[in-house]
Symmetry: C2
Subunit: 593 residues, 2 copies
């Protein structure tokens, strides 16, 4: 049995805790978590990006999803921890497991700071039904994790208005308007991307996400940023002072919340505010549980942001198109592998001015690895590229001018008829959504089907949404906009599209053991200048689709016209940043079909 | 001032009522109401099918929608009643009006039997906010309406299992299963179509709807039908006895509900159960407000019903195609008008075996009348058909084998290029939805866009849903299935499609002052036999589209193939019921494009 598990059980026994849960979350519900927050990995030995550990007296279980079944089985061997494969038939989810195994009088614990309120209230309901108790003010792991990394505290910096397009003063004015509409006199904001958007600051505290650890509170008169003081240099402090933004120490928020005067109306979003925070609120405080008003404001990119995003995508498109050239001309003979190609692409991105960092961990999968939508190559799985079949490349970068997320599937040599048919079907789906001209009021539940129809007609489908919102130099996955025909409370794809929203358009086909095709552009929603009751999408991403994989006879004239026009735009956008011999090549791969 | 208004105010003063509301509804939330329930028309003089009258001491207002602005203005002249044009800019809706004009201590009244609970609770909220009171146990109009018609009491009859496809015993078993799932030990059902579906009975108590006035209650052991005894003949009583269905007098339900033992868990649907009923429930009763389990069960037509519907549509298609022949060959020279053509069509329908009645009031509009989606010709508006332009015909019939609802737009002579372009766009929308091949889990919010895309691409749209569910010899508008991209709590187009659901597919274009095009088939949802995770639609309606109005060069090869295939089916289905010279004609109008 794993030593850490033994230690945890000892402490649990000492504290009288019967069940202890360790999720994979930081204090802010971030998608990626810093090393300080990797308690679950430390405890279990399983290092995948998603998983929840539940420890009881006579069991320990780790729940994770299909991406990690093999890795988790491997890493959990001899640990004394059972793997629960989420989504598999007959495997209970954690809620079901708890409902069965929590008994009256038991104490169920977790660190309330690492659990968003909506989830915590779900557990509380189960606990109450079972007549058990819930203890959420303890981070047990901390007690015996000796070399635990500190909470990240990298320098924060100001994002100038030429990038953000809107001053803090204007943003906070809009937030206060929304507070008034909702009858709130206090707004508690814990999600890092919302805070950074509002303050026009950025940092480097979360992997792939240039944000600053912190909390924010806002009243009609004051804005207070709870932030690690050593993250702020003189220039930043001056900026904050100029804008009337108060600062307090990061941890101070808990005490401050507990002292709110009764009668205060506190607005917060349960899915993005941790349970420890909301547990601090006095009983007499009125809770207004609603979406953070920052979410929708941040999703509607302003004209400056949209114009900047075009620049960011021109830069990123140049890097990716040069990468495509390298793939087509040199990769096979150079003996490149999935992992080495990721390094090559990073190199090309870094050549672009104002590149900040990757916006997520690259997915580069050759052959049947392309059929795993969330594949991440490592030393063990790494594969050398051969002169045939598909290479799927899903990567993105942050620039001062915005963030990218692009997938292309490249022919590395001769393709089978089936490979070409699948590529063409996915391309048609991608194009059909991208071409949409639709009435304001339309949501992603409606639009999604445009991308799926060419696949559904063939009896094919993909088991993920067609697209997600994308932040501006923030989270690569951002709400509320999304494309998905299945409405779900967590996805919110029923939110209607508005001018300025940036969303990915990424249908795919995954044939297990054979190959995968995914084609992804970011598209920005704009108003039809001739009739503003209609909206349409403009592609931001500027990277050629692989003509070698296309069967034009399966496409409609309208789809072919779109593709030809798109390739013309790509040529114009990226050729200026390419050496002459690459431009010649680009001319041929963007030729009209 | 209208005499009735004076009388009403007298009674209101006597009773101390400050505001009295008269909606257009019966005790069952029926779409059409019988003459007994036309209090609003009696009081106001306005005879349109939709409208709500509010009378206060110093005002009387009638709210109605765009269909009736002209008629209402005319009929309300000198009545002392102000017309409130719903949806017009600056015109408050009733809720807003009440919020402004109800004052503390005022008494607001209406007949709780004619108001569904969900709406009544909305009013109660307003009343409470204003510190007013609500009085719902009075039908004031009844006191002075001397010649008020009786509540309809036409004979009820049994629908044999060869039509219904499922015995009462099987249906009640399914309902009880759903009750158990919801933890209900008492189910209160007030919607007439649900009751008739469940009992396998039909009647003739509501216009265009072969239902029987009644209420129903169901416990794990007993089913009681509260029904007018004189509607039941010996045969019906025997059927009820055989099936263990108890009967009580129609009105008795109110008292019975008030005597329910405390602790009973009562299931009912607030939007289909009147407020007087739910007000009778004792305080100690647990209310489970949820959809009537009958709704979804009724919407999933069983295989017998689907097979019958094919027969009903063959009959109705024969009548309509013969009508089309008459239109094309004789209508203009015979001097036909919108009204006379309705009679002609009724005649042709009546020739079909087992025709019961029309399923709604015919919409037959020539020229710019076609641009009014809910046009109903009367003596004054009636127009003679000329040898040009479009005639829009939206009609339907009830048969023992099911119910139809079909719209065709016919060229009555030469068409303009614009008329043909619009027809072709609508036809493409109709076909695209009809061709859908989609994953189970898909709702009408997603599918709707398939019909709209060809119109949206041209900057056109229609201001109504693309389709509604249709009952089997019941309501022509039935839930929960519907096509509409705007999700709304009342429409429920977010309900997912299931095998057996029958829905209309009816996109349109309405050019005010010029013409309208609407094309409607009923389509039944079926499972793909090759992969049951996919669903598709089969057209039930069998009537030619007008090839003279089609521009094939604007259609895709796939759309043309669909149309050719459909016309082949139509020929096979309806030619056997037509005289030889009409069959010859049918052959030409269903020829391949």
């Amino acid at each position: 049995m794993r030593e850490q598990l033994r230690q945890l059980r000892d402490v649990m026994t000492g504290l009288g805790i019967h069940a202890y849960l360790i999720p994979t979350d930081d204090f802010h519900g971030s998608e990626y978590v810093g090393d300080h927050f990797k308690s679950r990995a430390y405890m279990s030995g399983f290092t995948g990006s998603a998983g929840t550990l539940l420890v009881m007296e006579d069991m320990a279980g780790l729940w994770t999803d299909g991406r990690y079944f093999l890795q988790a089985a491997d890493q959990l061997r001899n640990s004394g921890i059972t793997l629960f494969k989420m989504g598999e038939k007959g495997v209970p989810d954690i809620d079901t497991y708890l409902k069965k195994h929590l008994k009256e009088g038991m104490i169920f614990g977790f660190d309330g700071r690492c659990m968003m309120e909506d989830k915590a209230l779900g557990y509380r309901k189960i606990v109450e039904e079972k007549g058990a108790k819930m203890e959420t003010e303890m981070d047990i792991v901390n007690g015996f994790w000796e070399d635990r990394p500190e909470i990240s505290c990298r320098p924060a910096w100001v994002l100038p208005e030429k990038y953000s397009g809107m001053s803090f003063a204007d943003k906070i004015g809009m937030v206060r308007e929304e507070m008034e509409k909702k009858g709130a006199d206090f707004f508690l904001l814990a999600s890092l991307d919302d805070i950074c958007w509002l303050l026009n600051v950025r940092g480097d505290d979360v992997a792939f996400t240039p944000v600053v650890m912190g909390y924010l509170t806002c009243t009609p008169d004051e804005v207070t940023w709870y932030v690690q003081d050593k993250a702020l240099d003189g220039k930043m402090k001056e900026y904050l002072k100029e804008n009337g933004i108060l600062t307090k120490e990061y941890d101070q928020i808990y005490e401050d919340l507990s002292r709110l005067p009764s009668g205060t109306s506190v607005l917060y979003q349960p899915s993005r505010t941790n349970y420890a925070l909301t547990s601090c609120l006095p009983e007499e405080v009125r809770r207004i549980r609603a979406d953070n008003p920052t979410e929708i404001l941040k999703a509607r990119k302003n004209p400056t942001e949209v114009e900047n995003e075009r620049i960011a995508h021109q830069k990123d498109g140049t890097a990716l198109t040069r990468f495509m050239y390298y793939l087509k001309k040199h990769a096979v003979e150079a003996g490149e592998t999935e992992v080495s190609l990721a390094d090559k692409l990073l190199e090309l991105r870094k050549e672009q001015e104002d590149y900040v960092e990757d916006s997520f961990s690259p997915i580069i999968g050759y052959g049947d690895h392309g059929a795993l939508p969330h594949y991440s190559a490592d030393e063990e799985s790494d594969r050398r590229i051969e002169g045939k079949g598909f290479l799927l490349v899903d990567t993105g970068g942050h620039y001062l001018e915005g963030s990218t997320d692009t997938t292309r599937t490249f022919a590395m040599g001769p393709l089978t008829r089936e490979e070409k048919e699948m590529y063409t079907a996915v391309l048609r789906g991608h194009i059909n959504l991208s071409m949409a001209h639709f009435k304001a009021g339309c949501s992603g539940v409606s639009l999604d089907i445009l991308a799926r129809t060419p696949l559904w007609d063939l009896g094919l489908d993909y088991n993920h949404g067609t697209g997600h919102g994308v932040g501006y130099l923030l989270n690569v996955h951002e709400g509320p906009n999304a494309f998905y025909y299945r409405p779900s409370p967590s996805r919110r794809s029923d939110s209607v599209f508005e001018e300025g929203m940036i969303t990915s358009d990424e249908p795919g086909i995954y044939l297990e053991g054979k190959f995968g095709v995914r084609l992804e552009n970011l598209i920005v929603c704009l108003k039809d200048p001739e009739d503003s009751s209609f909206l349409y999408f403009e592609p931001l991403t500027m990277v050629p689709f692989d003509r070698e994989a296309v069967l034009p006879e399966l496409m409609t004239p309208k789809e072919i016209a779109w593709l030809n026009d798109y390739h013309e735009q790509v040529f114009r956008a990226v050729s200026p940043g390419m050496p002459p011999e690459e431009v010649e090549w680009l001319r041929t791969v963007t030729e009209k079909l």
